[in-house]
Every structure is written in C-alpha cells, then in structure tokens.
C-alpha cells in the first residue's frame, strides 16, 4: 500500500510539473471557456428576453403591471430556478463543468503521448504497479480540472457574474461536485486512451463527444426549454448534475433546494464510483502484456 502511494506521488508530481511549467498551455485551455462565456453569456442573453422595459410597464394599468411582473417571475423561476438570476451568471456557472469536461478529456491524451514517446514502456519495465500509472493519470486530470475551473470562476466574477452562495460551505460543495465529475470523466477518457494507439483517434473521439455532451446538458440553457428527447438525454448526462449542484450551491442563495442538491451529489457519486472503478479496471487490462 505504501508503495502505491509513493508511486502515485512520484508519477503525479511528474504530470503536474509538466503542466504548470507550460503556462502557455494553461492559458490556452482557459481562453476557450472564457471565449464561450463572452459569446454565449454576454450575447445570448436569455433572461433579458423575460424583462419588460420600464416605459412599457408605465403605459399599463397598475394591476396589470403587477400581474405581468408576477407572471414573468414565475416563468423565470420555472426555467432558471430563481427570478433574480441574470443569464451571464447562470451560464458562467455551467461553464465550470464544461472546463472540467474539456480538461478531463484531454488527460487521456497524455497517456497516448507517453506510449508514443516510449515513456510508457519505461514505466512498464519498472516494478511500478499498473494501477499506480492509471490512478496518477486520473488524479492529474482531476487536479488540473479543478484548478482551471477555479481560475475560470474568478475570471467570470471579474467579468461581472454575480454569485450568491447558499452558505459558507457552498463553495466546497460546488468543488466536490466538480471533483466527482472530473474523476468519472478522466477515468472514462483514460481507459479509452489506453486502448487507442494514435493521438489522431483520441482527438477524433474527443471531438465526437465534447460538443454533444456540452449541448445536451443544462450548462448553457435550462433543460425545460429542450424538446422531450433532448431532455431525456440531458437528464442522464452527468454534466447536468454537476452543473445543477454548482448552481444550487453558488447561485440560488436562499432559494437553494437541499433535496435537488442531494440528488445531484448522489448521482455524481454513483457516476464517479462506477466510471472510476470500471475505467481503472479497463485501463489496467489495457496495460497488460500482449
């Protein structure tokens, strides 16, 4: 057991050293979600559609005004969970899960490169446990995902996102949700990467999966706005649960729903346990000798 810890420490150290020593790469992976936030969050102002201009309200009789305000508040609450939310804050929170998705996906790439450059063979002729190799890869995916998600969150706040955490522990709950998501996704993509011999096919797999996973979730717009078939997909997409958990804890303030949050965390725990378990087993088999 102590051996495994030492091995994971050594291998994880290598992965992270390589990562933080190339700030350019770090910058590039952060720029993409920031651009998404700018394009989607600022331009596609969904909540803005539901705001009635002041002068229009003034032209209406007073009882109609309060009725309309009430109606719109209900529509907002129904779609976005609370009435006072602006779209930029809403989607910037969704972006945190997307950052985790993209970063976890790319963690599979490093194993493809290690194989290609011969480093993997170097590991395999050493007494290092096969499991340590996989687990250190998964953990490096998780650490990178979380650090980048935090950076993107700080940028979102700088760009005007307004968060209202439900309590002092809320940010921790949000981070745990993202960690669980990253565990499952990293394991999934690493187990795929171990099987694939070329980085081209790994890139193709990533490109095939990333946009559908993002759009078929509640990251950019409420699930209730989707057609029924897409709702069905979105409701089994783990990203939806992570996004909702982060929204409940960071965005909803007092109107946070404990039961929804518990459901999210439960679903994510199941997802992480299942995919990490199966992923590590599959990846371990992939490293076995031919």
């Amino acid at each position: 057991m102590r051996d495994i810890v030492v091995e994971i420490y050594v291998l994880l150290g290598r992965e992270l050293k390589k990562w933080y020593r190339s700030p350019f790469l770090l910058l590039m992976t952060i720029i993409q979600p920031v651009i998404w936030m700018g394009l989607f969050g600022k331009a596609l102002n969904l909540t803005g559609l539901l705001q009635v201009p002041e002068e229009l309200l003034r032209q209406l009789p007073p009882d109609a005004t309060s009725l309309i305000a009430e109606l719109f508040n209900k529509v907002m609450t129904n779609l976005f969970g609370a009435s006072g939310i602006d779209y930029f804050s809403y989607m910037s929170v969704g972006m945190l899960s997307i950052v985790v998705l993209f970063t976890s996906m790319s963690s599979g790439m490093t194993i493809v490169w290690d194989r290609r450059l011969g480093f993997l063979n170097k590991l395999l002729v050493s007494p290092v446990k096969r499991g340590s190799i996989i687990i250190s890869k998964v953990l490096s995916g998780v650490v990178r995902s979380i650090v980048q998600a935090i950076l993107v969150m700080l940028i979102a706040i700088a760009l005007g996102a307004r968060y209202s955490p439900a309590g002092p522990l809320a940010p921790l709950v949000a981070l745990s949700a993202l960690t669980l998501l990253s565990l499952g996704l990293s394991s999934l993509f690493i187990s795929i990467a171990v099987r694939l011999r070329s980085w081209e096919s790994q890139m193709a797999t990533i490109n095939l999966l990333n946009l559908p996973l993002m759009f078929a979730s509640n990251a950019l717009y409420p699930i209730k706005m989707m057609p029924a078939w897409l709702q069905a997909i979105a409701s089994v997409n783990p990203i939806s649960y992570a996004v909702d958990a982060v929204r409940q804890s960071l965005l909803m303030g007092a109107s946070m729903s404990i039961s929804a949050l518990l459901l999210d965390i439960g679903a994510l725990t199941l997802f992480a346990a299942l995919f990490t378990g199966v992923g590590v087993l599959v990846a371990d088999r992939g490293l076995r000798r031919g």
Binding site: G118, N121, L123, R195, G290
Partner: protein, 332 residues
C-alpha cells in the same frame, strides 16, 4: 551462472513470426550483442526479456527469474535503455533521474547520491540542473543511459544504443558501455544493426535474421569461420557453373558460389590468389569486368550466414508499412 537463458522462444503477431525458435544464453558479466537488420526480431526479443511482451511459446529466464511467471522480480533487477529517447524534455537532468529513482523506490538521500554518481560517470554533471530540452541528442542518450543505471540493475538492456547518433557520439557511447562492463561487471544485452558496433563492443554476437538465430559466437571466431579473404568478381560468362568450376580448380580457393550476379569466392592469401585467378579466367576467355577483395568482417559473416547483405533490404515500402501495421494491431 547464466544471466539470461532463452529456450526455443517464439513470438508471433498474427501471421507474422517475429521471433522463431530462438535459443541462447548470456553469461554473467558478458556484453552480448544481437545483430540483425531492421525487422529481424531484435526489439521483439528485448521486449519479451524486459517483460513488455509475453512469448507465444518457449521460455526465457532473466537473472534466474521467469519473465512470464516472475515478471515483478525480473523488473527489479533489469534496466532498459530503449531505442526512443524517453527522458522528459520539460524536466531537468537531475529531476529525470529522481523520477526514475522514485519508480524503483530508492530513498531520497541514496537516490541523490546515486544520481550524482551516474551523472559523473556519463559526464553530465555540469548539465544536471538544466532542462533536457537544451540537451543535444548525444546528451539525451547519455541521460537515458544514466536513468537506466539509477537502480543498480544487474542486467542492462540497450536497444539500438547509437541509432541516429553522429560518429563521435557513437564512439563516446561505446566507451561508456565498455566502462559499465569492465568497471561495474554488469551484464549487458544490446541490439544493433551496425556491424562495426557489434564488432567493437560485444564479447559474443548472435546473428538474427527473420526471427531466427543463424549464428552465435565471438566476433573473432565468426570472422575466422569465413576461412579467409573474400573475392567478388563480375565476369562475362555464358554459364555461371563453368566459371565456378574453373575458379574451384585453383589450390588456395576454399569455396566459390554465384549469387546476385557476382561470383563470391573465399580464398587463403587473397593478395596472391587474386592475380592467379584473373589469369586463369582470362586464359579461358572470360573477361573480368570488376573485382572486389575484402578482408573478413562481420559484414561478410552476415552475408555468409543469411545469403544477403545487411544494408540491401529486400522488400517494398508498402510491405514494411504492412508489417508495422500487423505488429501494431496484434499488440493492441
């Protein structure tokens, strides 16, 4: 005791038989070379011995441990310096060595001391704290060697140690390899497709071709086994058999054969036999258009045992590509 024992080892990838019934032993402290053209099965053999591949059949024992059943134990006592350069560009030389130390569970203080030792041995002390991306090709290879030595392996595997290096660097690497054997008494198994490398370094050589071992001996005995100098002749002729018979009548000729449009003759005292041979042929009306005389070398040994020159690879690009694909797919 033998450091490596290989018995009737077979490895096939689908229809391609990469290693075909190979048997050999390597003594402790020996520098043993595997010589053969690309695709002959050298790397596959090394991959089996270093526990990266499982043999299709046969047996391989490294340092007293079976490579299949006792892979973990084998891994603790071997070092591999692969063909590719695997040291990490983003880390310094020292960090690369410490990473290796970690993989073998060396304690930090001991590892630091050992790293300084191997850096000194391979003349890399000054570059130890520089990132590897600033290293030259030769320095990277030396660092690769240093990394392979970190955990005091009993048996070191070198896969094409000088592939792609310039002449001076090659000679330097040879000297380091010799030093390892002479000063540390390490058993070294190396593969190469360079004749001069096998000749300069190895105590014994196995010549491998199409997965089969065709000869094993010291470089000297292999060269002696040719039985003398080689003369190659291009002759105007109607029937090669007539010419071969004619040549064979000369006393100092030991063997003559016609292959690839050339008459290949093994003779004693080449300097004296050659004029005699030319005279004989001319007298019978055979015009000699080209003559080459060679002293025995491993190049000639290879030709003698495999019937083809090491450099002149037969086959097409497509065939080579297909074979690579077969191997890749079979390993997937």
């Amino acid at each position: 005791m033998s450091a490596i024992i290989v018995e009737r080892l077979v490895k096939s990838f689908g229809k391609l038989i990469a290693v075909n019934e190979a048997s050999f032993t390597v003594d402790e402290g020996e520098l043993f070379g595997f010589l053969g053209p690309n695709g002959a099965g050298k790397t596959t053999t090394i991959n089996i011995l270093t526990t990266l591949l499982i043999p299709s059949s046969g047996k391989a024992v490294v340092g007293g441990f079976d490579v299949v059943a006792e892979a973990e134990k084998v891994r603790r006592i071997i070092g591999l310096v692969p063909q590719d350069i695997t040291v990490d560009d983003d880390l310094t030389g020292m960090e690369n060595l410490m990473l290796h130390a970690g993989l073998y569970h060396l304690d930090r203080q001991g590892a630091k001391r050992r790293a300084k030792e191997v850096l000194e041995l391979l003349n890399l002390t000054d570059a130890a704290n520089r990132k590897v991306e600033t290293y030259s090709g030769g320095m990277r290879k030396r660092l690769e060697l240093a990394a392979g030595l970190m955990h005091h392996p009993d048996i070191l595997f070198l896969d094409e140690p000088t592939l792609g290096l310039d002449v001076q660097t090659r000679t330097a690497i040879w000297n380091y390899v010799k030093k390892l054997r002479d000063e540390l008494g390490m058993t070294i198994f190396l593969t190469t497709h360079y004749m001069d490398e096998a000749d300069a370094l190895c105590d014994r050589i196995a010549i491998i071709d199409h997965g089969r071992i065709v000869a094993i001996d010291t470089p000297k005995s292999l060269k002696n086994s040719l039985g003398g100098d080689i003369i190659e002749l291009e002759v105007m002729h109607n029937n090669p058999e007539d010419v071969v018979q004619l040549i064979n009548k000369i006393d100092s000729v030991k063997k003559a054969a016609f292959m690839d449009g050339l008459f290949r003759v093994t003779v004693e005292r080449g300097e004296e036999t050659l004029p005699m041979m030319l005279e004989t042929l001319l007298r019978k009306g055979h015009r000699v258009t080209r003559v080459i005389m060679k002293k025995p070398s491993l190049e000639e040994v290879f030709l003698e045992y495999t019937g083809r020159a090491l450099r002149a690879e037969q086959g097409s690009w497509e065939e080579a590509f297909r074979q690579r694909m077969i191997i890749q797919r079979a390993r997937a």
